[in-house]
Amino acid sequence: MAKQDWRRANGSLELLEACDPVERSGLAGEGIEGALEEIGAAITNRPAPSPRATRRRGRRRTVLVVAATMLAISATVATAAVVFSAHTGLFPTKAEQAVGGPGEALNPAAPDFRAVALQIASDIHYPNGYASWRDWVLQTQVASSGVGGPGGSESPFPAGLVSTGALHGWFAASAFCAWVQSWRQASIAGDANATTQAAQTIAQAPRWRAVTDEDPHPDPSAANDPGAVSGTLFGWMLPYRDAVVAGDRARVEHLLATGYGDGKCWLSDPLWMAQVRTHGDAWGRLSQKELAQKYKQFLASGRS
């Protein structure tokens, strides 16, 4: 049925339409149009989200966009900034935590940031041979959180702060993916001990404090913002876990290649990401399906 037909099928709808509280012509004025143009320009002049920021919901928590406000309001911050440590003594409000994650806001531009970050990650264990994945978190996530921005390393007021909770969560996601890779390789090698150890670690991962601090009840099917991938922040871990616990290597490899929801483990894999960078624009134009195929080939060759 045509739109007009069903709308006119009932007089109450016409009456409702006539009572529209907004006069559309009133929104077409020069002043409003000008203000809208400025807002649009301000938005598109913002830094682009990192690819990871749009693919994994946790990455949205990279930058505490409220950092400037927090710095402005807190007189004690100035004192902390003079010392210029990663520890700022700032704790976001609950509303801010929803965007930036829980815990203290850290300054990634501070010289002691790496040491502080590794201390935070000290309860997150990686399998043997995957230490480079931890460094990759620092290189990529912290790099995309605003270091090197307008504040730069010489400024006590960097472009972005990062919460201890978000940082902890990034390490957890990275280590989880490393354990999944480790399980797959142990399974291929027929190493029963390593397979069991990896499976036990993976099974416990959804209850790691780094996970539950941000996502008390990981759920891969929870509703999300329209257009976004469904699932809670760490809900994507569960399909990987279930496949590992079931010993289903084919399923694990499928998940590794395609990701589940926001959980694209390849983003944590420095070797793979180096290849992606090497191929630059050529791979940048590939569809997700084509990229997944490339990753399957990578798994079959480079990681077996």
Binding site: D20, P21, G26, I39, G40, I43, T44, P47, G227
Partner: protein, 192 residues
């Protein structure tokens, strides 16, 4: 520049131009103040900018934006006002164009507002998305994340309830639905 491919930026700018007035009207109808409407409009597009690769193509992009704006409304996003100068400027322009004073409205408009407010929120939302945003049941389904056939059934029931409310005498003047509700009634006046 800022790391966004030129095509992606151009697409976003076009989407912004194509949808901003619709989104602004939608938020104006449902926000408690011009500041809230302006703030949530900016927030909606900021979320879109941050999720560039999550925005669907074609007509679905517009509905996706409605869905984001709807979520902000449901979450009461106005409580965390940005107080950004550009948002304040837009709010000022909106206040000038739509002064927030209670208008003198006719009996029919008043009755309709009362009837609308007496409906369950779900009915009210489907009815106003239909009448004010001009969305089809299928489009409403996309915005609300609800199956289309359910929206059709709800719309039918909501229209029936609205009719019933309109024919039931009411003593109370219902509160306004949003900032803009109850302001401009000259369209109705003209028909009265």
């Amino acid at each position: 520049m800022n790391g966004v491919a030129p095509d992606a930026r151009a697409d976003f700018e076009q989407l912004f131009r194509d949808t901003r007035t619709d989104l602004l009207a939608y938020l104006m109808r449902r926000s408690p103040s011009a500041e809230d409407a302006a703030d949530m409009l900016a927030e909606t597009y900021l979320i879109a900018w941050r999720k560039l690769d999550a925005i669907p193509t074609g007509e679905r992009a517009r509905l996706w934006l409605f869905g984001v704006a709807r979520n902000l409304l449901l979450k009461g996003a106005s409580r965390r006002r940005s107080q950004h100068a550009l948002v304040e400027r837009l709010a000022g322009e909106l206040r000038s164009a739509h002064p927030p004073h209670a208008p003198i409205e006719d009996e029919r408009a008043s009755a309709l507002r009362a009837a609308l407010t007496a409906l369950p929120e779900r009915d009210r939302e489907i009815l106003t998305l239909t009448a004010w945003e001009g969305l089809t049941p299928k489009q409403i389904a996309a915005v609300m994340g609800t199956p289309g056939n359910i929206v059709r059934v709800r719309l039918h029931r909501a229209r029936t309830r609205l009719k019933r409310e309109l024919t039931t005498p009411r003593r109370l003047i219902a509160p306004r639905v949003g900032y803009a509700a109850g302001q401009k009634t000259d369209k109705l006046d003209a028909r009265a």
